[in-house]
Each structure stands twice: as structure tokens, then as C-alpha cells.
């Protein structure tokens, strides 16, 4: 009998342990699942799903026709000329929607999926005019146009004409789209290598295509710095007591490529130069460069030799 009771108590304890074990596992799965779902929300978010979260009627502005979608091959059907910019930032998908109002200007919403936060940030930095607004990440507003990036999306909303009402709706739409993208994205790591002193935070361009570099700062008709998808690049403007200057940083995937690019730079642009020592160019500006392997750092358009030297010196060694 006693053995039976003992066996019975043992079974109950065992069952309780098993039950608690399963409950614990279930709790871990549920909590973990929620966390994972949250983390993956933006990862799995497509522009098609994103557009479903954006109202088609907003204070009298109604979406006209069906949303249109483009990819890297078809973007030129939608954006004349400027489509190359989005291709240069690895455009995956673009959603376009137009809103019309009986007595207001047309409003155009474009959402670009660039596939990565770095590229969304990069394409955002292509045009940095405007005033900061608290919409999405780094939102900017200029008359008629709102732009921001969030996670791997770049969002552009513009009104064909600027009115008080259209300006309000543009912002409202922007906030709605931004809210539909749950997670913010991280800025490119390369930005951390930029010296802080005198950095003009509203004049930082991130890119990885020489066509885009040439748009912001024409260097050469050929890709002498060997910039491509594997070489994150940043061009930043500085104002320091020693003078203004621009800093170009290119991070290469290997020491060999970094040094080869430096050789090309010297051969084609500053054959008279040696590393670190500033060289005065024909327009009176100064340039200087150094290898901070795997970074190639180049100071451009420095107003003084001291501005070039000190800015270059502030680039981290690694």
C-alpha cells in the first residue's frame, strides 16, 4: 500500500514536472515567437503589403487607379532619367500611388524598397535639401516634397502644387507610411569612421557607384577608385577653423583592392603626390590622401593645406 502511495505520489510529481516543462517550453516558444515576429516584421514587409496599410482616401484625396509597381528593369518606365539613381542603390521594388482631389493638387506617393537600410539611407542622401521633420528617419520637407527613409525603404511624397492643404496631407501620408514600417534601420557602419569635428551632418552622401559619386563630386569619367557594390563610400562636407573641405572615404573588401585603388588615384589624379602630404591643385584647392587599410581616405577641395592635413589625420587608423 505504502509502496503504491509512494509510487502514486512519484507519478504525480513526475507528471507535474513534465507539465511545467511543457509549459516552460510553450512560454519560451510563444515569447520567442513574438520577439522573432517583431524582429522579422520589417524584414518580411513587402511594398505591396506596406501599401495596404496606407489609406486610399485621406481627407478628400482619393487614390486614382491601381497602385503600380516597378523593379530595377522597369523603373525607367516610371522615372525618366533619375531611375539610374535607384538602380545604383540596388532597387528591388517601387510602389507608386497617385491621389487626386476635386479642388486640390495631385499628390504622388512613391515607396522604394532598396533591400537594405544602408541603401535606403544612401538614396535618401542623394537629395538633402529641405527642413528636418519628425517623420520616418531623417525626414526632410521642402515645398511640395517630403522624403525620408526607414529601415530598407525610401519614401517620397510630393504634391504637384504646394498648398496649405496639400502640405498637411503630404505630412499625414508620410506619418502613416512611416508608422507602417515597424523598425528603424541602422545607418551604414562606414559613417562611424567620419571625424566629428566640423562635420556637416546634412551634407553626408552614402553611395557605392561611381556614377553617384560623379553626380555629387565629379572625379573622372572612368571609375578610377574602383567603386562598386562591395565598396561602401561616403562623401562628407566639413567646416573647420582651418577651412572647408570634403572627405571621401572608400572601404574596400581587401587590402589589395584598397592599395590598387590608391595607385589608380595617384596615377590619374595626383601623380605629383605622396600619401598624407597635401597637394595644391590648379583651382587653388588642396587635396590629400592616405590608406587606412582597408579604407582609402581622400580630402578634396580643402581651402587650406592645414584643413586637408588635419582632416586626414582625424580619420581613424583602422
Amino acid at each position: 500500500m505504502g509502496d503504491a502511495v509512494t509510487r502514486c505520489d512519484g507519478d504525480i510529481v513526475l507528471r507535474k514536472r513534465i507539465l511545467f516543462g511543457w509549459l516552460f517550453v510553450a512560454a519560451v516558444v510563444i515569447v520567442g515567437g513574438v520577439l522573432i515576429m517583431n524582429l522579422n516584421h520589417t524584414t518580411s514587409l513587402s511594398v505591396e503589403i506596406l501599401m495596404q496599410h496606407v489609406p486610399t482616401n485621406i481627407d478628400g484625396w482619393r487614390a486614382t487607379g491601381r497602385d503600380r509597381y516597378y523593379d530595377a528593369d522597369t523603373i525607367f518606365d516610371y522615372i525618366d532619367g533619375g531611375g539610374e539613381v535607384y538602380r545604383a542603390y540596388n532597387l528591388r521594388r517601387c510602389a507608386a500611388r497617385r491621389y487626386e482631389h476635386s479642388s486640390g493638387p495631385e499628390i504622388v506617393l512613391d515607396v522604394f524598397d532598396l533591400g537594405s537600410a544602408s541603401d535606403a539611407f544612401g538614396v535618401f542622401t542623394h537629395d538633402l535639401d529641405g527642413d528636418p521633420v519628425s517623420i520616418g528617419q531623417d525626414g526632410r520637407y521642402r515645398p511640395g516634397w517630403l522624403s525620408f527613409w526607414k529601415n530598407r525603404f525610401f519614401v517620397s511624397i510630393y504634391a504637384m502644387e504646394e498648398t496649405d492643404a496639400s502640405a498637411r496631407i503630404v505630412r499625414e501620408l508620410g506619418r502613416t507610411v512611416a508608422a507602417a514600417i515597424a523598425d528603424e534601420g541602422r545607418r551604414p557602419e562606414l559613417l562611424a569612421a567620419l571625424p566629428d569635428e566640423g562635420q556637416q551632418t546634412n551634407r553626408i552622401r552614402y553611395l557605392h557607384h561611381h556614377l553617384i559619386l560623379n553626380y555629387h563630386y565629379y572625379l573622372a569619367d572612368k571609375n578610377i577608385l574602383d567603386i562598386d557594390d562591395t565598396t561602401p563610400t561616403v562623401l562628407a562636407t566639413y567646416r573647420r577653423s582651418a577651412g572647408q573641405a570634403q572627405l571621401l572615404l572608400v572601404r574596400y573588401p581587401s587590402t589589395e583592392r584598397c592599395r590598387a585603388a590608391a595607385r589608380q588615384w595617384v596615377e590619374h589624379y595626383v601623380p605629383e603626390s605622396v600619401a598624407v602630404t597635401p597637394v595644391q591643385l590648379e583651382n587653388g584647392s588642396w587635396t590629400a590622401w592616405r590608406i587606412a587599410d582597408p579604407l582609402l581616405a581622400i580630402v578634396l577641395e580643402a581651402e587650406t593645406a592645414a584643413a586637408a592635413e588635419t582632416l586626414l589625420a582625424d580619420v581613424p587608423a583602422k
Binding site: G82, V108, G144
Partner: protein, 300 residues
């Protein structure tokens, strides 16, 4: 990367004077092109009429036709609006009217039709006249053309700074991106292509509602257009573009309240003069005739 051909760098342009002394990238103002060996002068007519747009902003054909006729008469110093067309075009010509279909700001249909009608009026067979922007390289008129009329609205442009008459011929190449370097500075080279060279008899820059600043992926907002009600007409595309660009620059100064140079700088205009000899980019070598109202002319 290949070293087979000469690499053109920013320093080459510094040596040539395209980049002036200064800290940031200097942008050469229009009308300050380097000295050129050309000594000819060019005549440009700017005509404006507020009635050219109706209350909805639509072009009135009878007004734009009259503007074109008046401009042609002034340009060629004649009282007969058709006489210059007879001198410029033979009845046997195959004429391509190179227009521009950019959706937000296309060449007005009424203007295209007027040009077509003037060509027919001087004997050009209607079946030998084509109006087109895209697909020129496969077009039966443009591939056989013996003469061209170049007509487009002026606007700021993402890659070249300005969408100009010089740039309008870019569709004659199947590699437009090959001309993107240095803000499309070498666009004048397009005019050397066999389909283009020596054929453009008349250039008409539409300045009815020019775009003076571009924003967003589509580079357009009506907020940056304004009614200027003008046409600029010349046989010299560079002189016409130079005149139009001066107006755009002045409008930008007026609108922004500060000097806001066109970005990127439209270097291709001066280069079309100094590198390709297509015309005059220096205002002092342009004989500008203004017709119509002069309020806010923006050509001080």
C-alpha cells in the same frame, strides 16, 4: 578597369578653366564661358504673350502660332512669316520635328502642329514630316531626315542641370548614359552624329511655364514652374539655351532670395560653344530681340 583610352578627370577641367578657384566646387555662371575663337554673332528672339495660356493653363493655338510667326519674322528681319521657312526648308526635305514628351512638361501639341503646318505651307510633303521624341533610331522619317526642327520646353534636369535644346538631341544615340560625365558636359558631341550633324535648321525653346528647380524622384513639382509665357527662337541652339538659362538662373535667385546656382551646373551649354562650335554661349555675342511684354523679363 582599362587604361586603353585617356581618362578625363576633374583636374583636366581645372586646367581648362571649367572649375574656378575656390573652396567648394565652383559653378561657372552662364555667360562667363572661357574665351572662344568664334567671332560670329547669333540672333535670338524672345517673344512673350500672356494670352498664350487660357485660364486653365492650356495653350491657345492661335496665340502660340502668332507668337511663332512674329518671332520668325523678327529673327530673319522680314515681314513675311513664311519666307524664312521657304529659305530654311526645301519642298523635297524630309523633316523631323524633334519634340519632347516628358510627361510633366511636354512640348505643347499646338506648337508641334503649328510647325508642321508651316512646313506644309512652304511645300514640304506632309508624309515627309515626323514629330517624335523617342524611338528616333528606328523611325522611318528621322532615319531618312534631311532637316530637323528642334523644339522643347526648358527645365532643370537631374543629370545635365538643364534640359536644353542641345540636350534634346540625346535621343539620337542609343547610349545616352555615355554622355553623363561631368554633368553631361559633352552633350554637344551628339550633334556630331550622322543623323544630326548639320540638319537642325530651327530651334525653339518653349518658355511658357519653365521648371526652374527639380525635386523628388520625378524631378518635378508645379510649385517650381511659373508662367513666363515665352518662346525663344533661334537658328543657334547654344544662344537660345544660354538665353533660357539666364532666365532660369534669375528666376532661382528671385524665388530663393539668394544665389542658388543650377545644380548640377549646365556645363554642356558653354562646352557646346567652346568644345563643339555649335553656337554662342556668351551673351555679348548674342543679339537678343525681345517682343511682347517685358514685365519680369528676368534678363537684366
Amino acid at each position: 578597369m582599362t587604361n586603353e583610352c585617356k581618362i578625363i578627370t576633374r583636374r583636366d577641367f581645372m586646367v581648362a578653366g571649367s572649375f574656378a578657384v575656390g573652396g567648394a566646387m565652383a559653378r561657372p555662371s552662364l555667360g562667363q564661358a572661357p574665351p572662344t575663337v568664334q567671332t560670329d554673332r547669333s540672333r535670338v528672339v524672345l517673344i512673350r504673350d500672356k494670352n498664350v495660356l487660357d485660364e486653365n493653363g492650356q495653350v491657345r493655338k492661335e496665340v502660340i502660332a502668332r507668337m511663332l510667326d512674329d518671332a520668325i519674322k523678327a529673327l530673319f528681319n522680314t515681314g513675311d512669316a513664311l519666307a524664312p521657312w521657304r529659305n530654311l526648308f526645301k519642298s523635297s526635305d524630309i523633316v523631323g520635328i524633334k519634340t519632347n514628351v516628358w510627361t510633366p512638361l511636354p512640348t505643347p501639341r499646338a506648337l508641334e502642329e503649328t510647325i508642321q503646318e508651316r512646313l506644309v505651307a512652304v511645300g514640304v510633303d506632309a508624309t515627309n514630316i515626323g514629330i517624335k521624341d523617342r524611338g528616333l533610331l528606328q523611325d522611318p522619317i528621322f532615319t531618312r531626315s534631311t532637316a530637323l526642327v528642334n523644339v522643347r520646353p526648358m527645365r532643370t534636369h537631374h543629370w545635365s542641370g538643364l534640359g536644353t535644346l542641345i540636350k534634346n538631341h540625346i535621343m539620337f544615340t542609343d547610349q545616352p548614359w555615355a554622355y553623363h560625365g561631368n554633368a553631361c558636359e559633352r552633350l554637344g558631341a551628339v550633334w556630331e552624329l550622322p543623323m544630326v550633324k548639320g540638319k537642325t535648321r530651327l530651334n525653339i525653346l518653349v518658355m511658357l511655364t519653365p521648371l526652374f528647380h527639380g525635386v523628388g524622384p520625378h524631378h518635378f513639382s508645379a510649385a517650381y514652374t511659373w508662367p513666363y509665357y515665352g518662346l525663344i527662337v533661334s537658328t543657334d541652339p547654344v544662344a537660345a539655351d544660354t538665353t533660357g538659362a539666364r532666365i532660369i538662373e534669375a528666376k532661382r535667385r528671385q524665388h530663393f532670395g539668394e544665389d542658388r546656382p543650377i545644380s548640377p551646373p549646365p556645363r554642356h551649354i558653354a562646352a557646346a560653344d567652346t568644345q563643339f562650335g555649335l553656337g554662342q554661349s556668351r551673351p555679348e555675342r548674342i543679339d537678343l530681340i525681345t517682343l511682347g511684354f517685358t514685365e519680369d523679363l528676368l534678363l537684366a
